[in-house]
């Protein structure tokens, strides 16, 4: 329900206008939950260098179980996910990032 609210709240985002119109027409609730459009963090922040030494950058992509966060959740683009994967694997070798959670 808070999704409805945020339509009125204004602000950027794609397809908002179209959605509003649609709802006006048939009054149907197509999407009960508002989902933020996922953006690749590295594209958005213009981070070219995904380095294995930069644990602060990598940590958000290895949540609790220390598995690599899949693209469908993080929204990372294919190119950057590939680079990210390599960086994480290197950081794991150096015990900067865990392989598993104990």
């Amino acid at each position: 329900m808070n999704g409805r609210k945020s339509f009125g709240g204004g602000g950027g985002g794609r397809g908002r206008g179209a959605q509003g119109a649609q709802q006006g027409k048939d009054g149907q609730q197509r999407r009960p939950m508002f989902r933020r459009r996922k953006v690749c963090k590295f594209c958005a922040d213009k981070i070219d260098d995904i380095n294995y030494k930069d644990t602060r950058l990598l940590m958000p992509f290895v949540p609790e179980r220390a598995k690599i966060l899949p693209r469908r959740i993080s929204g990372t683009c294919a190119l950057h996910q590939r680079k990210l994967r390599i960086a994480i694997m290197r950081a794991r070798q150096l015990a900067l990032i865990p392989y598993t959670a104990e």
Binding site: Y52, R56, P60, L69
Partner: protein, 150 residues
């Protein structure tokens, strides 16, 4: 042909500072003997390991940026493998990746400069110009997992 490599090794936590320095001089000696050059050395100091390596829970990290041949790195790799004081090491070639990074950065600034000139602005961003950062959005649910892991 000389290439650029990064070498990170983790010295055992039992090693004294002198022994760590000794390790560095050993690496340096090999690099010099085989016609290489050390561009940079960084000692990250004692750090906690993310997992136990042979019942060690922490270690002293040292990073060396080395300019040299593949044979040189092979020799260093071999030597570090047999050195008991080094509990883990990693050699990564960095010159090609760095080139790609520089190229994308260069392209980006060039494009932005061209666009700015086309809009009749000076090519470089002036201080105090441009949009301010978005205020923090607590509804940002992209993923807050892992933040508390640090």
């Amino acid at each position: 042909m000389n290439r650029k490599y990064e070498l990170v090794y983790i010295a055992s936590p039992d090693a004294t500072d002198d022994q760590v320095t000794e390790l560095h001089t050993q690496v340096e000696a090999i690099v010099q003997r085989l016609g290489g050059k050390i561009d940079k050395t960084e000692n990250w100091g004692r750090r906690r390991l993310a997992y136990e390596i042979g019942r060690h829970k922490e270690g002293t990290y040292v990073l060396e940026v080395i300019d040299g041949t593949g044979e040189l790195m092979k020799e260093i790799d071999r030597r570090l493998k047999v050195t008991d004081l080094v509990i883990r090491h990693l050699v990564v070639r960095v010159d090609e990746v760095q080139e790609v990074i520089d190229r994308t950065r260069g392209k980006r600034t060039e494009v932005s400069r061209r666009r700015r000139v086309a809009r009749g602005l000076p090519p470089d961003r002036q201080p105090g110009e441009g949009q301010r950062g978005e205020p923090d959005d607590d509804r940002d649910d992209r993923f807050d997992l892992g933040e508390d892991m640090r």
